[in-house]
């Protein structure tokens, strides 16, 4: 048996000071090693910067001005990214469209996380009949192909929701529809991960210990077990943002997503289809931005997966 070091001994104090590294610092240390993930973060920050700071140089009204006399103009001094089929400035549309696309990604991810975590946590914690019902529902949702469902719901609901005003901007009601539809059709994978983690974590002794001091089920689920399963949720959420952006681009490209004049990177591609060769600037810029964003987010997700993995945290000092 090791001889215990007295608490005021320099070695003991040094040990206490050494352990001051918090969990987040540890994660950051590991994340930093992942060069592509770092690059992803930098490029994502630049993209967000582009979409936010860009608004200082242009207005949304300007991005929606149509002028058919200058339609399909190639990039020039006045329109650095060129103009589209109805003469709108592509640069300012990528800026405002970027905001919408990124927002759709983030909010749809939030919807996905809330629904997925709630269903997974409740199913995993309570088990039995509740678990069976929720998991059969999850499987049923899994069985519906997501893209056709997105298309049908987008088509059905697009004009049912009135436009709304937020942050001094007017959003087409279709933005809300597309967020809800993407969020509500992509939570199943996360729900399964969370359920699986809850199934094993609820048997751990610290849960019994928490029950023993009189903690109720709600605080046990959200206060004790959920923090233990944050790592896969964070990774899943990160990748969820990328997926939501892709899905939005997909349905908008097919013309049933976000309705013009509200721009998104996805619906900017919609009109470009007929001009793939004759006016490549129509699709190059929004397409590039989508690819860059999704790629960055996926690299960040990979980096986080490694950095948050508790097994890889061991021996990372």
């Amino acid at each position: 048996m090791a001889i215990p070091i007295p608490e005021n001994h320099p070695a003991a104090i040094a040990r206490i000071e050494k352990t001051q590294l918090t969990f987040l610092q540890l994660v950051w240390l590991r994340f930093k090693r992942h060069k592509m993930a770092l690059a992803g973060i930098i490029s994502l920050i630049l993209l967000a910067f582009f979409a936010i700071v860009g608004t200082a140089f242009t207005t949304e009204a300007y991005s929606n001005v149509t002028d058919t006399s200058i339609r399909l103009m190639p990039p020039s001094q006045e329109h650095p990214f060129g103009t589209d089929t109805v003469g709108r400035d592509i640069l300012s549309r990528t800026i405002y469209g970027g905001q919408i696309s990124l927002m759709i990604g983030l909010v749809a991810m939030a919807v996905e996380v809330v629904v997925g975590v709630l269903i997974g946590a409740i199913a995993g914690y309570y088990g039995g009949i509740i678990d069976s019902l929720l998991m059969r529902f999850t499987e049923a949702m899994f069985n519906i192909p997501q893209i056709p469902l997105l298309l049908v719901l987008g088509k059905l609901l697009a004009d049912k929701v009135p436009p709304l005003n937020l942050f001094g901007r007017e959003f087409s009601g279709s933005v809300v529809v597309i967020i809800a539809v993407i969020g509500l059709t992509s939570w199943m994978g996360l729900a399964r991960i969370v359920r699986a983690n809850f199934l094993s974590l609820k048997e751990r002794e610290f849960v019994t210990a928490a029950l023993c001091i009189g903690t109720r089920n709600g605080p046990i689920i959200f206060g004790h077990i959920l923090p233990n399963t944050m790592a896969p949720i964070i990774v899943s959420a990160t990748l969820g943002v990328a997926n939501a952006i892709i899905n939005e681009a997909y349905v908008s490209f097919l013309g049933v997503g976000v309705m013009p004049p509200t721009a998104t990177w996805g619906n900017m591609l919609n009109g470009a289809y007929q001009y793939i060769e004759s006016a490549p600037w129509l699709w190059i810029f929004p397409g590039l931005l989508i690819v860059l964003t999704v790629l960055s987010i996926n690299f960040i997700g990979d980096g986080l997966r490694d950095a948050l993995d508790p097994h890889s945290l061991v021996g990372s000092e």
């Binding site: 969990f23 002794e205 610290f206 928490a210 206060g223 233990n228």
Partner: protein, 328 residues
Amino acid sequence: MDPLLEVRNLKVQFTTLEGMVHAVNGVSFQLEKGKTLGIVGESGCGKSVTMLSVMRLIKEPPGRITEGEVLFQEQDLLKLAKSSMHEIRGAKIAMIFQDPMTSLNPVLTIGHQISEALVVHWGIGKEEAFKKTLELLEMVGIPQTKERYKDYPHQFSGGMRQRVMIAMGLSCKPEILIADEPTTALDVTIQAQIVELTKKLQSQFGMAVIWITHDLGVAAEIADKMIVMYAGFVVEEADVYEIYENPRHPYTLALLKSLPRVDRKKHDRLANIQGSPPDCIQMPPGCPFRPRCGFGVERCEHENPGLMPVAKGHKMACWVDVTTGRPQ
């Protein structure tokens, strides 16, 4: 004096694929205010299940409390609504566990975990809970309380974690502390420290302690009264001095014989109990200890002896008088 906690004829079963496991078969005991009850017995004899039943923490299904009463301050805990149990757990009866490595939540600070019970039961504010928690940490002998409050369980040693568990258990000044093998995972010197700490805090708070262990040495150190369990039955119950000096059940006798002793000769082998505990799915008829017992008589084959008094405050369940070897 009325006992603080009285368990009467408690029976617990578990449904498994192989059949019904009879984990606890009619356990009864009493615990008086401020006293310590030691429960000893080998692994799987129903010690922990009994205590989890008292706390109403048996998972149902597969478990089921089929019979019995758990009277605490004159109310039957087994009949209480689930929501009222939340007010008992932690506030009136607290429980600490064997392995302090796994009983603390790895992602919450220990301060958070100790103050939780205070917030839950006393509804006090964060600041007050913080102050109380620092007092508790100091009380269980953890230095640098302010720094340690923010630490996570992995930054503590095993003994320190068990101190944290005790602080958690004591935070609301419970009437009863159930300690389920709290020193088993610790090395001997730390064991002694934890036993001393519990005794000190017990006299400070005037609470009753139920100390589950399979270490007869530790039990002798802390208990006032002891019960010995075997295969879900209480086989002997007596005052702690009585049970060590005058064991009356063959199982207790065999347990005491198998203790290592300082005065034993070097080459003597440690005595052990032949065989293994009975299968709790197909309990043999008669006395459960019969197949391993050196005193067996014919009656043991088909009749299970109940607990019967043999001296003042001393009960045991055996057909044979081990002092004479003859049926009593």
